[in-house]
Symmetry: C2
């Protein structure tokens, strides 16, 4: 039998490329030493049918294509240097819609203070946007440099986008987060001086925890520390969705997941929430509100894939 790409999945493809290249850093971005600093570079391709939910405006598509890339700079504690935009669009797209995409890109570049410095345009059967973000940092913030006893934190509420993807009413914080997430670039720059590690949450908290896990280290997460609102639980319930599943396994929040020593936590000047600690258990666990402890599954969400 001939093996197809669909038989092994995207993560295996990435593993194959990394295993065959001598130069890839297995972190949120590439790191290239340059005299007394480090060039940080990252690229992400967004494809309309996979990455843009149905209600998303052309403007928000443009904005998001910058956010997903800048979020990787944030996770490295890098200062934005420049953004490159490769965009392919169908030839029957209306010019005004194209201009809306570009307006979203340019407004996002202003918002994150990253100049749009170059790019490429093309024709394709659907909208495809590949962004490349470049940044600089003296001290890259890696994703697996934590120690046992470090606290595990997130920069804001997680799971908002996950719930937003399920809602039809547009005017609420959940849908806003789903359609126009914001990268935590300012927070990343502050964390660089205090955190022991960081990554951004794109595929869900569970998936990111398994991505950063090292042999011999474990994570204990506490449900009560999520501080889930009654409203969140109620809406999830009405949709017959498990709210913990939304919070752990969906993602797309673009919050930062970071670790920090107990001593440094008090020095932080950013909004953040402690959700657990690094242990020596070698497993990824959750203490539920009722006191029970269960393993967190290694399962992320593949967005908008039409199978």
């Amino acid at each position: 039998m001939t093996l197809k790409v669909s038989d092994i999945g995207e993560k295996e493809l990435i593993k194959y490329i990394i295993a065959n290249s001598k130069s890839i850093t297995p972190d949120d971005t590439a790191i290239t030493q340059l005299n007394d600093t480090n060039l940080i570079s990252t690229c992400d391709m967004l494809i309309q049918s996979r990455h843009f939910p149905k209600g998303m405006s052309y403007y928000d598509m443009g904005f998001k294509s910058v956010t997903v890339n800048v979020s990787d700079l944030a996770a490295m504690g890098a200062e934005p240097l420049g953004f490159l935009l490769s965009i392919a669009i169908p030839k029957n797209l209306e010019i005004d819609d194209f201009k809306q995409i570009i307006a979203g890109v340019l407004d996002a570049c202003d918002f994150y203070e990253i100049p749009l410095i170059g790019g490429d345009t093309n024709e394709a059967s659907e909208i495809i946007i590949n962004g490349t973000a470049l940044g600089l940092t003296d001290k890259p913030l890696m994703k697996d440099t934590y120690q046992i006893g470090d606290l595990i934190c997130v920069t804001g509420d997680i799971g908002l986008a996950a719930l937003g993807f399920e809602l039809d009413v547009l005017d609420n914080i959940y849908v806003k987060r789903a359609l126009k997430p914001e990268a935590r670039i300012r927070e990343g720059l502050i964390l660089r001086d205090y955190a022991t590690s960081a990554t951004d949450i794109t595929d869900g908290l569970a998936s990111e925890l398994y991505t950063i896990k090292k042999d011999g280290f474990g994570f204990m997460i506490h449900e009560e520390m999520f501080d889930v609102s009654d409203e969140y639980k109620r809406i999830a319930g009405e949709l017959e969705l498990d709210y913990l599943d939304l919070m752990l396994h969906v993602g797309e929040d673009f919050e930062l997941l970071f670790t920090i020593s107990k001593e440094n936590l008090g020095k932080l000047t950013i909004d953040c929430k402690v959700i657990g600690e690094v242990t020596d258990s070698d497993v990824v666990e959750l203490t539920l509100e009722n006191g029970f402890v269960e393993r967190i599954e290694n399962r992320g969400y593949e967005h908008y894939v039409s199978e």
Copy 2:
């Protein structure tokens, strides 16, 4: 009537983006000053149905995706620093074919001495490869910094790929150039110290000449300086194609088009050919072998577009 993208064309889209961004250098690549050097960055998206001719192997697709980007570094006289690969593939692609694409990318990175430092994988209905090439140069080689009286040169034979696209027999120099072009990275590094301007030939000599043209400056190209072989003329004739049309309006050779002062020409240690000179005529002209002079049309070739 609502304007569609197909009504205005790709070049107008690029013009729109450049006009609305404060930070884009209208040259072959972006240029970002970094202490005592310049970071050169560029990205190009290749789409299977548009950019890869039918006979092209998966390996050659991977190789070409590096070449088109490195060629832009060459045109700036930049030393390669790193390459990022965003690749989207159909889920029914065979794993062995995917591995062939990656082998082509990795071999090209070795060939150009540019490390593969990062990337992204995705699923799409056809193969889409977006490469980002990063480089450094103390002295960026711009495309329009020539003076009247400068000689116009190319680094090799142009039009080989153009003829290759038309041939079914694979084992000849034309098809080889069409399927596996090579970027002139070594030549670009030498030209940086001697040339007055440079760009790479992707859309055809004519199109590039119009791209670099400044008001008040003109170009006179001499057919006899092309040194067209009898074989080239014969094969084009058998295919009922105009050989001059192939040489001027197709491209995809990835040779460098550069200008140089008469004094500096003798100092060059690379294979190259003088094909004309910069004039004050304000037009782009060709002196034919028979002595007649005609205007060169501003017309490039859109490859593999199925209209």
